[in-house]
Structure formats: structure tokens, C-alpha cells
């Protein structure tokens, strides 16, 4: 059969115009010294990359990003499995009601989630309750690093745990009933069944691996929630602040008047970030069982 290549032309055109073209130009810009004070866009070599690798602020941002990526994705995974177990062990009616409730956060704009979990939203009421309501005399100090890092991870997990839940529910459904029946005959407890049947099936599934990889690629460019926290913590004019992910760092370099619009440096960071997400995508393509058939 003849492949209708004409059908691919509009799609390819957009891929080149909106994706590959701008990326190539970004790469060229990253090789130049382009900024507000130096309008020359001519490539001069890899010096931006070399300078970046010895930049303490960049490494700090990488560390913060890595912490948030692994923390958030792990939390999503755990909460997702927990929600999936609750859903699959319920009756039909409860299942449809509660899974509808659980997927709500996925529809909420990440920037709104940044507002939802902000110090003066949830913690305003919670702290009032702790301090005055229950007269405990303690409150949760959202300006402590441990608290706000956890809160950014919680916000991210709040949005994305439902996705992991949906994928995990599909995996649990595909486990043959006989395995559980055999386990019940042998008198296995619920925990043994989870530990010996359900969890290994989840872990071994390409579906969960691919989903986790894609979530990691997404989390590497995490922007909205840390961006909101920059304001909640009053760090929005400080380069290399404690909640600066790589994306937030680029935003600060871009919008601050302290620096002369260092386009070359920003694109250098963007290209490094792109290399990370491109490698993750290659892994996804490799591990996915159906994308290429």
C-alpha cells in the first residue's frame, strides 16, 4: 500500500516552524554573545556552555530542580498507587463517584494550584485552627525550607497523582483474577496480595515506567508552582534563591532589570534543559510498547 505522505505535510510543517526551527535558532543564539548591550547575534563558540558549567547559581538551580523532580514524582507515584488501590477495591458506584473526585486536580491550572497551596490559603486556616482553635501554641511555618520544599512537591503531586492513579488502575484491572483467587485459597492477607501480586505487576509494567519518565520530563521544566512560591517567600528579585528551579532561574534572568537581557546565557540554559528532556523522550520511545507499531 502506498503511504499518503501528503497527509503528513501540514503536521511536519508545524513541527518545523514551531518546534525544530526555533530550537535551532535558540541553539545558534546560545553560541553568541547576544544581549541588550551586545546586539551581535553571530556565533562565537561554546564559551557560554563552559561558563555555565562553572556557575554556582546554575548548579544550585539544578540541585533544587533535581530535588523537586524526584520528590514530586515519587510522591505522585505513592499517592497514585494508594488512590488506585482504593478505587479498584470499591464497588461500582463508589468507584465512579470517587474517581471523578480524584481526577479534579488534573483539570486545575498549575498556577492556580500554586495559589491553592500558598501560605495564606490552606495554611491560614490550618494555622489558625492549630494555634488558636486547638490552643496548641504551634503553627506550621511556611517560610522554613523543609516546609516549602515539601509544599511544592505536595502541590505537584496534588496535580499529577490522579494521572498515576488512572494508569495504575488500568494495570491493576489487567492482572488476571485467578492470581488473587489462588492467593486467597492459600490464605494470603491483603498485604501479601499487594506485596506479592499487585505491586510487582505495577512496577514491571511498561505503562507505569513510561508515565513516570514523562512526568520526570515535565517536572524538569517545572515553572508555575515554584514561580508562585518565589512571590510567597518574597524571593522574586533574588537570583539563585532557594526555590529557583532551572525554569524560574531563566525567567528571572529574562525579566529582571538587574541584568542586561542576557539572551545568549538564557538560551544556553534552555538548551541544556532541552538535552535532558530529549534524552528522557528517547527512553520513553524505547520503553513504550505501542508508540511505533
Amino acid at each position: 500500500m502506498k503511504v499518503p505522505y501528503v497527509f503528513l505535510i501540514p503536521c511536519l510543517l508545524i513541527i518545523f516552524l514551531a518546534g525544530i526551527g526555533p530550537v535551532l535558532q535558540s541553539f545558534l543564539l546560545s553560541l553568541s554573545e547576544f544581549s541588550l548591550v551586545n546586539p551581535s547575534q553571530a556565533p562565537v563558540g561554546f564559551q557560554n556552555y563552559i561558563a555555565l558549567l562553572s556557575d554556582a547559581i546554575f548548579w544550585k538551580a539544578i540541585q533544587v530542580t533535581l530535588l523537586l523532580v524526584f520528590g514530586s514524582v515519587f510522591l505522585e507515584f505513592v499517592v497514585g498507587i494508594f488512590l488506585a488501590l482504593l478505587i479498584t477495591s470499591s464497588g461500582k458506584r463508589a468507584r465512579s463517584i470517587f474517581s471523578s473526585i480524584f481526577v479534579i486536580p488534573i483539570a486545575i491550572a498549575p498556577i492556580v494550584t500554586g495559589i491553592l497551596w500558598s501560605p495564606n490559603s490552606v495554611f491560614d486556616d490550618l494555622n489558625t485552627l492549630l494555634y488558636y482553635g486547638l490552643s496548641l501554641g504551634t503553627y506550621i511555618d511556611t517560610t522554613k525550607p523543609f516546609t516549602y520544599y515539601s509544599l511544592i512537591m505536595i502541590s505537584d503531586a496534588y496535580i499529577w497523582a490522579p494521572l498515576l492513579m488512572l494508569v495504575t488502575v488500568a494495570i491493576i484491572r489487567s492482572i488476571p483474577r485467578e492470581q488473587y483467587e489462588a492467593a486467597e485459597v492459600m490464605g494470603a492477607s491483603s498485604w501479601t496480595k499487594f506485596n506479592k501480586i499487585t505491586f510487582p505487576a505495577i512496577i514491571a509494567s511498561p505503562a507505569i515506567i513510561v508515565t513516570l519518565l514523562l512526568r520526570m520530563a515535565d517536572a524538569f521544566r517545572m515553572f508555575e508552582v515554584p514561580y508562585a512560591w518565589n512571590f510567597w517567600l518574597g524571593q522574586d528579585s533574588e537570583l539563585g534563591a532557594s526555590v529557583d528551579t532551572v525554569s524560574v532561574l531563566m525567567w528571572k534572568m529574562f525579566s529582571s532589570t538587574l541584568y542586561d537581557f542576557p539572551i545568549a546565557q538564557i538560551t544556553t540554559i534552555a538548551i541544556v534543559l532541552l538535552i535532558i528532556t530529549l534524552s528522557i523522550c528517547a527512553l520513553v520511545l524505547r520503553r513504550s510498547s505501542n508508540l511505533l507499531d
Binding site: V6, I15, I104, T277
Partner: protein, 294 residues
């Protein structure tokens, strides 16, 4: 007898867990809605509100239920304009994405060919790309072409998000159709475009609706490109929720928490309703179908 009690117990525990998980989901949202009404539980206990949770909090909340923020948002201020902007940009971008993505999705589902891995990989990469990797070229080019802060310019930018979603979701929906149907059509010598229009599309129409709704919600919720590339003309709702909205769309306003919450509440209502309508396909939308097992 013993096992009966055990069963009941585990059922109670399950319901307690289900309800607490629902609270975890709904509690922050309910606080946002309630703060939009300017309700604050602080004074109930302390008479003055908790003011130690960060320098932004005003500490003067109270139980003074008022719909003023919602009314203000919808009537006095430029909020409706933001909603209209978001709809215009999202709908036009999704339509272009469908025109380009539908035939491409069909080809990806039906044929094996050289370059298939390249297209799939490019779409995956576009879905995960850091906006900064394309932002600065767009900034320079849009400035030169006068596309900055225009509906066409924004609709084009959002193709980066929408094209992979539409193409790959449609590919999945075409794959879901039994192969025999297509074999019969191909045997009878029908052309590809005839099969796409008369055989595949009618069967995948519910899927197309789901993909379009999913892409619409994604564009509605998008913040990053809106933050950098929209201005006084095309400012979208997710940007407006953050940076404030006032009398006219042109004026910037210092952020106030009641307003932020009222705006946020109004912004998530359509997104939540639409997402619940397509919840069966959410996983396919977010992973472009990579997570499915065939």
C-alpha cells in the same frame, strides 16, 4: 461470623480512606472558593485572624460573607474579556491542530514508513519541551513580524502543545477501530482521503471531540507562554488570575488575595467540567498514548 465482622471493618476503613482522600482533593479548592467570598475563619478563634503565616497575609479577614469579588470579577472588571480571549485563542489553535493532526494521526495509525519514528519522537519532544527553548526566537520573530500580542500569534504558539495532543490521541482512536473495517475499505480500492473522511472519521468522532476538549483545557490552563507573549490585547485567563484584573484589561493591579481566589475559582469551573467529561481519555492525553498496552 468472625470473617463477616472483618469484612465490615475493612469496608468502613475503606470508606474512611476514600473520604479522607476526597478531602485532600477538595479542601484546598473549597478554601479558594470560600476566600473568594472573603470568608476567613481566623476571627472565630482569635478575633483578628492569623497574621504569622507570611508577610502577604493582611490579617484582617473575618466572617463577612460577600459575593462582591465574584460580581466585581464578572461585571465591573475586565475578567470576561480574559475569558473571551482564552476561548478565541484556544479554539482557533485547536482547529488548526485538528486540520494538521487528523490526517497525520491517521497515517501514523495505518502505515509503517520511514520517518515514522522521527515524527513520533518530534511530537513527544514538543510535548515535553521547556518553553524557554523556543521562547526567545519567538520573541525576536514576533517582534519583527508584528505578531506579538495578537490572536494569530498566540494560536500558533499553542500549536506546540495542541498538535502533539491531537495527532497522537487521534492515532490512538484510529487504532482502536477494528482492523477488518479498514481492510474491507482498502480492498474495495477506496482512496486514503475517502477512507479517512467516510470510514475512519465517523467512527472516531467521539474521540475527536474528546481530543479537542482535552487540548482546549490544556490551552486554557497554560500559563507560561501567556505570561511572556500576551499583553493588553490577548491576555488570557490563567495569566489574569495571577497578575490581577481590573477596570480595563490595560491596567495592571497589585495582587489581592480575595480577588485572586475569586478569579481562580471562576477559571477552574469550565476546566473541571470539561475534564470530567473526557476523564476516560485523560491518561491517553497526557502521555500521548505511550502508556497504553496493546
Amino acid at each position: 461470623m468472625m470473617s463477616q465482622t472483618n469484612k465490615n471493618n475493612s469496608r468502613y476503613i475503606r470508606y474512611i480512606l476514600l473520604i479522607s482522600a476526597s478531602l485532600w482533593v477538595l479542601w484546598p479548592i473549597s478554601i479558594m472558593i470560600e476566600e473568594g467570598f472573603r470568608v476567613d475563619i481566623g476571627p472565630l478563634f482569635s478575633g483578628r485572624g492569623a497574621s504569622f503565616v507570611g508577610e502577604f497575609f493582611q490579617g484582617q479577614g473575618g466572617i463577612r460573607f460577600t459575593t462582591i469579588e465574584y460580581v466585581k470579577a464578572l461585571q465591573i472588571e475586565a475578567y470576561p474579556r480574559l475569558l473571551v480571549n482564552s476561548v478565541i485563542i484556544a479554539v482557533s489553535s485547536v482547529i488548526v491542530a485538528i486540520l494538521a493532526g487528523l490526517p497525520a494521526g491517521f497515517t501514523l495509525a495505518m502505515y509503517k514508513f520511514r520517518g515514522k519514528a522521527f515524527i513520533t519522537y518530534a511530537l513527544l519532544a514538543m510535548r515535553t519541551i521547556s518553553p524557554f527553548a523556543v521562547l526567545l526566537p519567538f520573541f525576536l520573530i514576533y517582534g519583527r513580524l508584528g505578531l506579538f500580542d495578537t490572536y494569530q500569534g498566540m494560536a500558533f504558539i499553542y500549536l506546540i502543545i495542541n498538535l502533539p495532543i491531537i495527532t497522537m490521541m487521534m492515532r490512538g482512536f484510529f487504532k482502536d477501530i477494528p482492523k477488518e473495517i479498514f481492510e474491507a475499505a482498502f480492498m474495495s480500492g477506496a482512496s486514503d482521503s475517502y477512507i479517512l473522511r467516510k470510514v475512519a472519521l465517523p467512527l472516531a468522532l467521539p474521540g475527536l471531540a474528546a481530543a479537542a476538549v482535552f487540548a482546549f483545557v490544556g490551552t486554557w490552563n497554560e500559563f507560561f507562554y501567556a505570561l511572556f507573549l500576551t499583553g493588553t490585547v490577548t491576555k488570557t485567563v490563567s495569566r489574569g488570575v495571577w497578575s490581577g484584573f481590573s477596570e480595563s484589561i490595560e491596567s495592571f493591579k497589585i495582587l489581592e488575595f480575595d480577588e485572586l481566589n475569586a478569579g481562580g475559582t471562576l477559571a477552574i469551573i469550565p476546566a473541571v467540567i470539561l475534564s470530567l467529561a473526557v476523564q476516560r481519555y485523560l491518561a491517553r492525553g497526557f502521555t500521548l498514548g505511550a502508556e497504553e498496552q496493546r
